[in-house]
Structure formats: C-alpha cells, structure tokens
Symmetry: C2
Subunit: 339 residues, 2 copies
C-alpha cells in the first residue's frame, strides 16, 4: 500500500519544496481562466472610488460538512463581508497555515473547493501565502481569506441611516450552518439531513443595492452569534430598537428539531448564507419580491421593524402568542469553531 503523501515542515521553509507545493498543488487550482497571476503581491487595475477591504480567518471543525467545507466557507465568508458592505468583490487573497502531517489529499480537496467556489463567484484569488507548523501546533489547517471590492455607486449602507419605520428582511431560514456543524459533531442523524447554507451572497445583495439604492440602509451577514448578535449590534450602533415577529421568522423544521434537541436558540446560531437587510418601509415589499425571485432568497421574509429606542437600544421578539421577550447578544460560549 502506498503511503499517503503528507505535509512536511520543509513545505513551509521558503525553499524548493515550498515552491513545488505552490506551483504544483496550489496554483493549478486557481490558475485556469484567471487574468491575474498568483503572486506574493498582486497588482490590480482599479477605478477611482471607494475600496472595500475585509479579512477573515477560518478554523471550522470538522473541515468537511454537509453543504460545504472550510475552503468554500473561506471564499463565501469574505465575499459576503464585501457584499453586505455594498461592494462588488474584485479579488481575494488566500493564506494557509498547515499542520505538519496533514494529508496532501485533504489539502487538495480543500483547494479544489476554494477554486470552484471562487470561480463560481467570479472572484479570482490573486495572492497567497503558506506556512507550516509542527504536528500538534495547529489543527490540520487554518485559512485566512482577505478581500478587496469596489463599492457600488448606489450603495450607501450605514448605521446612521437606519430609522424607525424601516423594515428588516432576511433571505431565508435560520441557523442551518451552525446546526449542521453541531449535529455533525454530536453525531446526530435526521431523516432529512441538515446542510449548511454556506453561499456567496454578492449577487443577492447587489440586486437590492442596484434596484433600491439609498432605500437600502444597512446589510450584514449574521454569522457567529446569529441574528441575535447582529440585530443587537444594529440597535446599539444606530440607537434604535428592533421589534422581531416570531411568526415571520423563516424556520426549517429539521433545523428547529436539532436546535431543540441540543438546547440551542436559533436566533443565536451562525448562518453562512444569510443576510439581514434594513430597508426603508416604502420599498420593503419591492425588496422582498426581488429576493424571492432569486435562488438564494426563495424563503425571504420581512421579519421585523426598526422602532424608537424609547427604553434604550434593544431587540424584542413578539412571540406567536403575542407575548414579548428581550433578545440579548449571546454571551459567546455557544459554538466554538463554527467558522
């Protein structure tokens, strides 16, 4: 039996072995059809305007999960940070921290996923870096993707523009990514398997900015901490209150079951293919229609309203039976290494 090829410390030493890894294993996954070479430092032609710049590291465990893997997550996560900021993503960087002993085959599967996701999103990977640490000094692979984009002319998202009366939209059901990861870790099985919602959202956000312009006050992807964390950040930063309608929250039955079994509140659970939008009341229905006509927004809903912060900035949930409860920013212990 042939022994599987593994990453060695020398793969990160800056010498021939590293050059081989980069030229034979990494670059071919991204090279095809790219107009920009993968180099230490990429040079991109940019129009004058507002540049968006973002970064994210990914440490998700397990590396592969139903609906995605660490590579797909790394591309989508950074594309989405640009997307919600109102930018058209232009290029990504890719930085790998590899643990000595990582099977080359695993690395290749991840790189292929990165290449495929980036290609589908039409966002090239233009610059990169590779480091290797001793066995036991990292957990298989950590990935950083940073991204640059150009802000769309019509986009002007800002906490300062959020005001009472604005509607809050989401493009689909809550908590799929987080519950998929947790179920997989706990070994839970369901008749309909859970799948992460991991997706690149720049098309979906772009439509809203293009069609509704300044009516789009703010967007954010509710990842770690779920919509509870994002809505509380909105309330705090915009000095408003948020009223959520429980009856309007799009929920998947199996995801809800998994959350109930594991004792989680889906409001706190990470999404990786969802975006919250705050939209001027008069354009909320238009926004909803635009999203519902998009493959990534079929289950979109208007889930709440911005109100005056009469009692200070807070988020309240109006329950199905008409009660009210405070939705707090989760403390943070819920889900380690979810992304």
């Amino acid at each position: 039996m042939e022994e599987k090829k593994k990453i060695m410390l020398a793969h990160g030493g800056g010498g021939r072995l590293m050059a081989d890894l980069i030229n034979r294993t990494i670059v071919p996954k991204f090279g095809e059809g790219q107009s920009v070479q993968l180099t230490d430092s990429a040079v991109l032609d940019m129009p004058a305007g507002k540049l968006c710049f973002t970064t994210d590291s990914f440490v998700v465990k397990p590396l592969f999960f139903n609906g995605g893997d660490i590579g797909k997550l790394a591309v989508c996560g950074t594309v989405n940070d640009l997307a919600v900021a109102g930018a058209k993503p232009v290029a990504l960087s890719l930085s790998l921290i590899l643990e000595e002993g990582l099977e080359l085959e695993v690395l290749e599967r991840i790189l292929e996923s990165i290449g495929r996701t980036a290609k589908n999103a039409n966002v090239p990977i233009v610059t990169g870096d590779t480091k290797v640490v001793e066995k036991g000094s990292a957990d298989s692979i950590f990935i950083n993707t940073s991204g640059v984009g150009v802000r769309l002319d019509k986009a002007d998202p800002s906490f300062a523009r959020i005001e009472p009366g604005d509607a809050i939209l989401i493009n689909g059901t809550l908590g799929e990514h987080g519950m998929t990861i947790m179920s997989q870790r706990e070994g839970l099985k369901f008749q309909t398997p859970l799948a992460s919602d991991c997706a690149c959202l720049h098309d979906l956000t772009g439509i809203l900015y293009e069609e509704l312009g300044s009516s789009v006050k703010f967007m954010r992807d509710p990842t770690r901490g779920g919509i509870a964390a994002t809505l509380n950040e909105i309330a705090q930063s915009a000095r408003v209150a948020v009223e959520l309608q429980e009856a309007c929250l799009p929920m998947d039955k199996t995801v809800q079951t998994a959350a109930d079994m594991l004792g989680f509140d889906l409001l706190n659970i990470a999404n990786e293919g969802k975006v919250l939008a705050v939209v001027a009341r008069e354009d909320a229905d238009k926004a909803l229609t635009l999203w519902k006509n998009h493959p990534l927004g079929q289950k979109a809903a208007i889930i709440g309203t911005i109100t005056e912060a009469a009692d200070g900035p807070l988020v309240e949930l109006v329950t199905k039976i008409g009660g009210r409860r405070m939705v707090q920013t989760p403390y943070g212990r819920e889900l380690p290494r979810i992304c």
Copy 2:
C-alpha cells in the same frame, strides 16, 4: 495572588465576550489618530490606478525575540510585500487566531507592538477578525496581516525588465532575523546580542522608485529561504544568470559566528528588514548612495550582477579567493517557523 486573565473559547463566539475583547482590548491599540474605523469591512477612498494587494500569515516561535515580536513582524512583513511591489501602503487588515488559555497580557503586548509599528509606518489597521481555538489546537497565537497599497506612478518592477548588466543591491547585512530566532531557540548567547533586522522598508523602496523610476527593474525582500531563494527565483523567472561577489556581501561578524556554530549558510537565512534591488547599471551607484544615506541602508552594497543565462538560469557565487560555486534554492528544511 491574582490569577492572570486568559483567552477563553467564548472570546471567539461572536457574542458579548468577543465584542468586549474587540472593543476594550484590540481597538484601543489602533484607534488613536486613525481616520478609519476598525470594522468588519473597511471602506477606503482610493484614486484610480494600480492597487497592490498582499497577504501573509505569521507563526513565528518564540513570539518575542530580540529586535521584535510576532506583531511587529506581521506589520513589517506585509508592508514590505507592498513596498517591494512599488506600492505606497494604504491600509492593513489584522486577523488573529488565538489559543484558548493565551494570557491576555501576552496578547496585549503583541497588540501594542502592532499598533506602535503600524503608527510609525503610517499605515492604519482598518479591519480585523478574531478566532479562538481550543487549548492544544494552535500554538498561542497566529496572525494574518493583509495589505492594500497604491502603486507609485514611477514604479514598474517586473521580472521581464531584468537584463544582463543590471546591478544587484542589498540594503545591509545578511541573516540577522533568522539567526536571532535560531540562536534564541538554541539558547546561544553572544557578547554582542543578535537582533532581528525586522523593519518596514517602504520608505527605503519608495526613495529608489521615486528617484530612479524605470531604472529600478525589480525589488524583493529576501525572507524565508534568504537571498539564495530570492536570487534563484529572479534567475528562473527572468531567464538570466546571477553572479554574486562574496567579498561584497555585507556580513555582521556575530551573525556569521552564530551561523558557523549552527551550521547554516547565511545566503539561505531569512531577513525581515532587507530588500534586494535589481537596478540598471548606469544608475547603480546613485541607488547605492540613496540607500547609504537612509537609516535602514547604511550598510548597503552592490553585491552582484545580472549576466546572460548562457548555461541556463542559475546563481553563482564568486568566492573571495576567486573560485565559483553554485548557489541553489534551499530545500526548505532549514528554519521552520521563522516568521
């Protein structure tokens, strides 16, 4: 005795504890005097032109060493990637992967160093990310910095413009960073302590591009793999040969002693405050004078020449006694976790 505060998994959970860490510990280190807020995604006003974009992860061990630390290294490393590409650095991102149990005090020292280095370099940190992994899943802290810059009008570095007759310059002595790290790991002590050359080089590179324009054919910072790796990359990519003069190589006596004791060739050893420049012959002396008048270039020297690749692209060292030997790309095993 008060127990030292440590990083907990919940610091990466996307909730209140993470917000506290970011708002109380991280942002204050970078906030002062910055025109850009530290956010998920930064928005920067950019002129039309060529954008440079680069990324680097840092896993150096030990975290603190004579002449620097992982934080200073992370800022300088990314600034230097932009600098050698002919760019004026505009902004950096900062992404942290923290191991559960890391002392908050250690994190604060590193963040202060990052803040100080970025401030001195006049390059703001504008966007960031923080992840926490379980104890044993990382080694204290890994840092990714990515950077964006605008290419200087007069800069046009390219392998394609390198030609026989061009001079090769370096701004100072070889191998200080690598030998400092290795000596510290091995517990070697010297009368004159070794210190890393870790420094931001954008001022030094900027001068050359501004003053000599297209005479500057190429620049690169010889980090992992040392000048041996960089010069071989130049030879391969530009299809030329490189002739190095051993007698001209700036060497520090103590660094040389350390290398001899540990059995290393300084040509293969990482630098973190050095830049190699390929300059048209007629402007080589001007370039040397410009660098020698700069604090980071006082020991600058012309160390070799580009020649025809009659026997294929290769790097040769003309020794002090007039012999010749091939300088190969190091294999890679020399120095794990040097940066």
